[in-house]
């Protein structure tokens, strides 16, 4: 499983929806339940799965899933 597929699995777990298929250009508007509070769950889940830590600046800079993924890859 590549990292993007692994990220997709995390989205499915966090938003409790096995039909989610993420794409880099997708934003919170494209996924049911992705609000500012569940965003924290997502960040914690990604950090936990990959053993990394996002800075506050990182988190605020994410405009879409592609940004999140790029930042994630840079930390691996």
């Amino acid at each position: 499983m590549d990292n993007f597929e692994k990220l997709n699995q995390i989205f499915r777990m966090v938003f409790d929806d096995n039909e989610i298929t993420i794409k880099p250009e997708m934003t919170a508007n494209d996924i049911d339940g992705w609000d500012s509070l569940s965003h924290i769950n997502l960040i914690v889940a990604v950090e936990s799965a990959y053993g990394i830590k996002f800075s506050r600046k990182d988190v605020l800079s994410f405009k879409n899933i592609g940004d999140l993924y790029k930042c994630l890859e840079s930390k691996l």
Binding site: E19, G33, S36, I40
Partner: protein, 540 residues
């Protein structure tokens, strides 16, 4: 001028068909703006025919006056149309916040004995999981499938296509039950505050007197229709007066919102302190990009509006913000700031004309100005809740010494302005949403690793209050990042994202008194680093 209800007091009728009769048929009732910025206008005639069509859908399925219908949708045109259609048929009409998890849904749908619900395909699995515990639930209508999935899971578009656009709204009495909104208490399950059709009188009056909407205004209420503000002022109040509204599918987004305010020439904007505090984080130069010359007034509701926000808006936007206060139970604004009344930053304002509010002590004695006490309102206003659905005993307990007890504490100054001080119970107000600590504690205890839980609200500079959980974990269980994630996701998916603890502390045991009640006061003091106070009843 008060709206005329002599021909019919039905909310669905007064907001749609009546508007056509009085000459607003071709006027835009709302401009729908989707997440991609696509715009679709609905005239009052279209709102009337589409909501009538939905009334026929429910009628054709066999529903009749008094049956319970719920919407469980994110902001959408279908939510608005079905809400009004259901009211036309005189069904008890509830709305559910779209981020509710299955436990939250079960509590509400179960208590209400709901018979029919409208939702979307991706939410269906939440309902399927609890369906066996909802024996009264007969139909689930999905807005995003083309064909019926079964006799009980049906397609909205197919049902609508088969339904007639003509529907005669039967004469509806003012006291006929109408809207059902659930609200959280500090103990027990959420309670369904039920209103009557006559609530429209107050919603209309406050839209006119407090929000001061005029016939040519463009009004935008950012509240979700899952909550009382979204129905009282995102639907009923403005449309009872034939006012055009903006409805936007998305949530908070500074750029999208200001683009909307400028491009749609919004004249009156009703939003929430949390959103305003988030806007304050933007650089001042951001606000120079938008022409807000059409914007006449900004109103706020949900949590107390701190003075800093008012001062910021004066400096950066060149506008005042008028804070308003009401509750799910009150159905409409009760105490408020408003244009023409001097703003005292941080104050709730003064009661609406005809509303008698007071500060009383625990024995019901009126307290003088400057003294903090229980905020109470004299019962009898038209939008007052008529019961807690299937919970008459708790409803009655809210009325003592001739007053409705709001559960808020406040004080009055010498000029008659009210000042919010806090809650008299443990209910948490986070971003304008009331969260029951009991509900979160119950969800936490469903996790096998957790032995005890205690949940409190603590001050937060953006959310007003945030949810903080104290837990003790079972022996031989290690607190790890993975377990923290499990806890977060469990609460989020079972209750809702707004109930998810922002901070979790693992402690040896949860402080309880000798009768086993969680001493949240002690947890709060511990969190704030304050004196623990009298702990003589603590069971140690």
């Amino acid at each position: 001028m008060p709206i005329d209800i002599t021909d019919n007091c039905n909310i669905g009728y007064l907001c749609t068909e009546k508007q056509c009769y009085i000459g607003n048929g071709n006027k835009i009732a709302f401009r729908w703006i989707d997440l991609n910025g696509l715009v679709k206008d609905y005239t009052f005639t279209e709102l009337h025919t589409e909501s009538s069509r939905f009334a026929n859908v429910l009628k054709n399925l066999g529903y009749k006056i008094g049956d319970v219908f719920f919407t469980f949708l994110p902001k959408s045109t279908e939510q608005i149309i079905s809400f009004l259609g259901s009211l036309k048929l005189q069904l008890v009409t509830g709305t559910l916040f779209s981020n509710f998890g299955e436990d939250a849904l079960l509590d509400r749908l179960g208590n209400a004995e709901a018979k029919v619900i409208i939702t979307k395909k991706s939410f269906l699995k939440k309902i399927i999981k609890i369906k066996e515990k909802l024996p009264r639930l007969e139909h689930i209508i999905l807005v995003d499938i083309d064909d019926h999935l079964s006799e009980s899971v049906m397609s909205y578009s197919k049902l609508m296509n088969a339904a007639d656009i003509t529907f005669k709204v039967e004469m509806t009495r003012p006291d006929t039950p109408s809207i059902l909104h659930y609200t959280s208490g500090s103990t027990g399950k959420p309670k369904g505050a039920l209103h009557a059709h006559k609530s429209i009188l107050m919603q209309s009056k406050t839209t006119e007197d407090i929000l001061q909407l005029l016939p040519d205004d463009v009004f935008w209420c950012t509240a979700d229709q899952g909550w009382v503000t979204g129905t009282s002022y995102g639907i009923i109040g403005p449309w009872s007066l034939g006012i055009s509204q903006i409805h936007y599918a998305g949530g908070y987004d500074a750029e999208a919102w200001f683009k909307m305010l400028a491009e749609q020439r919004v004249t009156v904007w009703y939003t929430a302190p949390t959103a305003l505090r988030m806007l304050m984080r933007e650089d001042d130069s951001f606000f120079e990009n938008w022409d807000l010359s059409n914007l006449r007034c900004i109103f706020s509701v949900g949590e107390p509006l701190n003075p800093e926000v008012i001062l910021w808006a004066r400096r950066v936007l060149g506008k005042d913000i008028y804070d308003t206060w009401f509750q799910t139970e009150t159905g409409s604004i009760m105490i408020s700031n408003r244009p023409g009344l001097e703003i005292k930053p941080g104050s709730m304002g003064i009661p609406l004309h005809g509303i008698q509010a007071a500060i009383v002590d625990d024995d019901g004695t009126l307290l003088p100005s400057g003294v903090q006490g229980n905020l109470c309102v004299r019962p009898g206003w038209d939008s007052m809740f008529i019961t807690y659905f299937n919970n008459e005993e708790i409803y009655r307990s809210k009325f003592k010494y001739g007053w409705y007890w709001t559960g808020d504490t406040a004080k009055i100054d010498e000029d008659g302005y009210f000042w919010f001080m806090g809650r008299s119970d443990d209910v948490i107000n986070t971003a304008g949403h009331l969260v029951s600590p009991f509900e979160v504690e119950s969800a936490l205890l469903e996790i096998s690793e957790i032995a005890e839980s205690g949940v409190i609200g603590v001050p937060d500079e953006i959310l007003f209050e945030k949810v903080v959980a104290f837990i003790s974990i079972n022996k031989n269980v290690e607190w790890t990042r993975d377990l923290e994630l499990k806890v977060r996701l469990h609460v989020s998916n079972k209750a809702s994202s707004i109930a998810t603890p922002q901070e979790i502390f693992v402690i040896d045991s949860i402080p309880k008194n000798k009768s086993g009640k969680i001493m949240r006061r002690v947890l709060k003091a511990k969190y704030m680093g304050a004196d623990l106070g009298d702990i003589s009843t603590l069971d140690i």
